[in-house]
Symmetry: C2
């Protein structure tokens, strides 16, 4: 008798595992159930549907050839009997059955399995605040909610949307609403910067500035206390600092794994949520597999367990599970946490650990930032890419990278290299400094920005380059009347002189080429900060001043970073 494979959940991992198993095991009896109406859809595309990039909602649930992936498609085309509106209630591991319920009729029945896949995904987190049940308060992780918002937009029904939580979906939705529909958008984030799990404060300021270029209001270090309604619909968001009138609220404060059915069945789960699986994606019951948003994975950099609910992860893990279901052993070793997001003009991406995460994981970590050309600096149309590398000071091990650029594929290229290195081993600064990446002027500089950030980090770890973050610079600059700091700008005179003229006695323009002959102008009785356009020339100045017996501190990213942070007018 052919074996029964049952898959609970039909959005991302489920269909992938089912289709792969169906191809490898033509004779297996494969069944996939899902409690919803829509299956096998690209949930990550929801902001692009709302924002108009994807014209039809069905665009998110069709194959390349335009065929809608519904129950009939899987049943007739993929060798997978598929039932929507069918939720899993409980698992009887001894009898190897799953009790399922028709979500429309409430009728229950038993489904047998030889092998079971739990692909129940995640649910958006909704905080226990007054008013979260009001109309027009939603999250956007399912197509139904996306469609409702899109229809409200199209009917001009939203004047002011408040996004609660500055994670990926929140920021993507903010951009979609502001850019396509011209809706007033306010983002509220409890932490002091956007994308707090992905970005350092410095890069988050660049993200904030990019959002503000669409007139999006970004409120950080601010907690929502209550939603107020009128006639059952939301009309105000009350925070610990203000009250905001609005007619749409979108929660984007993360998701939690739908692991209840696994816990109830006694499968090993992580105390903070998520099913535990081995490298074959097997749960503590070897007949039961799990993957996607419902599992926690080993982080290959920190060694800790990580919750990384991403559609790409689900797809890759789904194929591994499909192979294992078919008796073709396949493994998934863990994750390094690669991510990317497009905002307005800027694209951000990263892999591995942030400085905060690295320190939490016990590393003696330092972060180093540069601004560097993403193509040859003489090639037209190049952009300044911001790159940030996180390094363990003792071992010079590379722990993480984050980047920001106008060319999304270009910044993806740099972070994907580090992701690959982290996946393959324990890369050091030497590996990154000599990372052999494709080079021709339309693609990169001869010293790739990725090599350059490693070189800068090498100089920092060695103590040669002593530099401030743009945040630290700005704090010193803004308080210069009190702290008596002196600032020297090593850019060409055209760039620095006007600032000097506005701030005599505080800010000095000294083109790098003039340093040696003008060294007497560098004060030795007050602390000195060096700055240039990107941090490169001011590093060279730092070294030269050291030869003259003068210690001064450099600034990462220089005026390019200030401009990206929207602080060009601070001077």
């Amino acid at each position: 008798m052919s074996q029964n494979i049952l898959i609970i959940g039909g959005v991302a991992l489920g269909p992938k595992a089912a289709a792969r198993a169906g191809r490898l095991l033509p004779d297996a009896n494969i069944t996939m159930i899902d409690q919803g109406t829509y299956i096998s859809y690209g949930g990550c595309g929801i902001p692009y549907f709302v924002g108009g990039d994807v014209q039809q909602m069905n665009g998110l649930r069709t194959t390349n050839a335009g065929v809608v992936r519904d129950e009939a498609f899987f049943t007739t085309q993929k060798n997978v009997k598929t039932f929507c509106h069918t939720g899993a209630v409980s698992i009887d591991r001894r009898a190897k059955t799953v009790t399922v319920e028709n979500t429309e009729t409430g009728g229950q029945s038993q489904m047998p399995y030889d092998k079971l896949v739990i692909a129940t995904g995640s649910s958006p987190r909704i905080p226990p605040l007054p008013g979260v049940d009001l109309r027009n308060v939603t999250s956007v992780t399912c197509l139904e909610a996306a469609q409702e918002i899109q229809q409200r937009c199209a009917a001009n029904g939203i004047q002011h949307a408040v996004i609660i939580g500055a994670g990926f979906i929140g920021l993507e939705m903010a951009v979609a609403l502001a850019d396509m529909w011209g809706i007033k958008v306010t983002i509220i984030e409890m932490v002091d910067h956007v994308l707090p799990a992905q970005l350092c404060y410095n890069f988050a300021q660049m993200a904030r500035h990019d959002l503000e270029s669409l007139d999006i209001t970004v409120l950080t270090s601010e907690a929502v206390k209550e939603l107020k309604g009128k006639d059952g619909a939301v009309c105000q968001v009350v925070t610990d600092k203000r009250t905001i009138d609005c007619d749409q609220v979108i929660f984007s404060i993360g998701v939690t794994p739908n692991d209840k059915i696994a816990r109830d069945a006694g499968l090993l789960c992580h105390p903070r949520g998520g099913i535990m699986v081995n490298s074959h994606m097997q749960t503590s019951d070897p007949c039961i597999y799990a993957g996607g948003d419902v599992v926690v994975m080993r982080n290959l950099v920190s060694g800790d367990f990580t919750y990384l609910p991403l559609g790409s992860m689900a797809n890759r893990q789904g194929r591994v599970i499909g192979s294992n279901l078919a008796g073709q052993p396949d493994v998934f070793e863990g994750v390094v946490g690669a991510w990317c997001v497009k905002l307005n003009n800027m694209h951000f991406s990263g892999a591995g650990l942030t400085l905060h995460q690295a320190r939490m994981a016990g590393f003696d970590a330092v972060e180093v930032s540069i601004e560097g050309a993403d193509k040859a600096h003489f090639y037209p149309g190049h952009n300044n890419m911001s790159l940030n590398v996180v390094v363990d000071r003792q071992t010079r091990r590379v722990l993480g990278i984050q980047g920001c650029d106008e060319d999304g594929s270009a910044v993806k290229a740099r972070t994907d290299v580090v992701a690959a290195m982290l996946q393959m081993g324990k890369p050091t600064l030497n590996d990154l400094a000599n990372a052999e990446v494709c080079y021709a002027p339309p693609f990169a500089g001869a010293m790739d920005v990725l090599n350059a950030v490693a070189n800068t980090a090498d100089n920092v770890v060695a103590g040669r380059n002593v530099a401030l973050t743009p945040d630290e610079f700005m704090e010193l600059w803004n308080n210069r009347k009190e702290n008596n700091y002196f600032f020297i700008d090593f850019r060409p005179e055209k760039a620095g002189k006007p600032i000097e003229e506005r701030h005599p006695g505080e800010y000095l323009s000294m083109p790098l080429e003039e340093l040696d002959e003008r060294v007497a102008e560098v004060p030795t009785d007050r602390p000195v900060v060096l700055v240039c356009n990107t941090g490169t020339r001011s590093y060279e100045a730092q070294l030269r001043l050291r030869r003259h017996g003068i210690e001064a501190v450099n600034t990462y990213g220089g005026h390019t970073a200030f401009r990206k942070r929207g602080e060009g007018d601070a001077f």
Copy 2:
């Protein structure tokens, strides 16, 4: 007394090593000599200067801040005494001196060294053919030649240029001349396809088609026999197949390392050319370093020695040498051969070994190609990326990758990941299938095209996916009257039916969804080839037909590959 560091060569590696050493060793006596007029220039940018992307020749020799990198710049700004028009004649390793010659006066003198760097680069190969000394016959590896060609273009002095050799510079120059100046261009390549050292025949056909879209004529498997002149200037190129009228000839058949001075000094060199160095970039004399275009490096994939003259390599190696000169040990382990090139609309890149190189290195190699979306397939503006992976059949080890896409950074991203993996270890198909790369719809598909090519290769190595290259397909298709092959197209009817109607009894349109009900239409008395838009649906068809007891062969890349090769009208 401070140590004497002498650097022979001032184009790429030399200046990098000198500047790094100068920063680390403020007290060292660092001297750099170069036989030419121009130093520290971006030679890789020459085609972009000729093509107008870079407006001024000085754009290739200025810093980001617009300062020209000349003798005075290095001497006053970089702590490196620099002398142009100064060639190295010989090295006396016992006396630790270099005899140098002023190339303008012919006067010779001795320069002492404690440490010496040979950064003499390479020279373009010019074959010993009649006529190579005629006027308007050149290569384009130096700024003087570039300027001369650019001025001839600007003066409308070139009507028909012949490029001999279809390597990087040859193709970039062809595009520059045809695109910017509207010059008639003919490329002549002795091997049967362009970029023979980088591309398989299939992708090379895509490159050819892209060049032809600029009306560039590409002649392959054709050897130049003679250049003919009139009044001392070239007027004809004679090949083994034809005679071509022209008024400009550019050789681009590679470069050879300028290792004579090292050989004469008894330093270990490779029999086929190039100085041998250890991982510290030291020659067989530990006081003498070498790098850049003058050395051979260990290929980390094949284990063989490789000659890889690239500006990016020179920059990275230059920094390593600079650190070692300063007593800060640094290593450069070897190369994996990452490259990229922009043609007209298409960007090509690769890393590791081609199929041919892998087989020459003793691997039981196979290559597998796909066409896949470079962004989410529902995201507007995505392109179909062509990816080709080279795999060792026995160990499933990934040996190389090549790609082609309209988005240059996107194809760089995919090949750089493989380059990083090859640099870090011995990646397998499993590593590539689960490569964790940044994902969001504007950047990639949920199953990245890089994961997808590994998955396809997995199916090929396992014998599930048995597929033809587009070349093999075309040979069968073009000879269908003789070989009696039958072709089935699994795309939607709209795409396949018109072809069926033009070729009844030879070509059948059968949308994948109809396969099971129409299986009786599949002939069993003649060989059958399956095709779709990318190779995915036809693979699924192959599996399904197998269930029906029918073996048929699939086609990599399908009609998307045919179109990229300019063969859309073959049907």
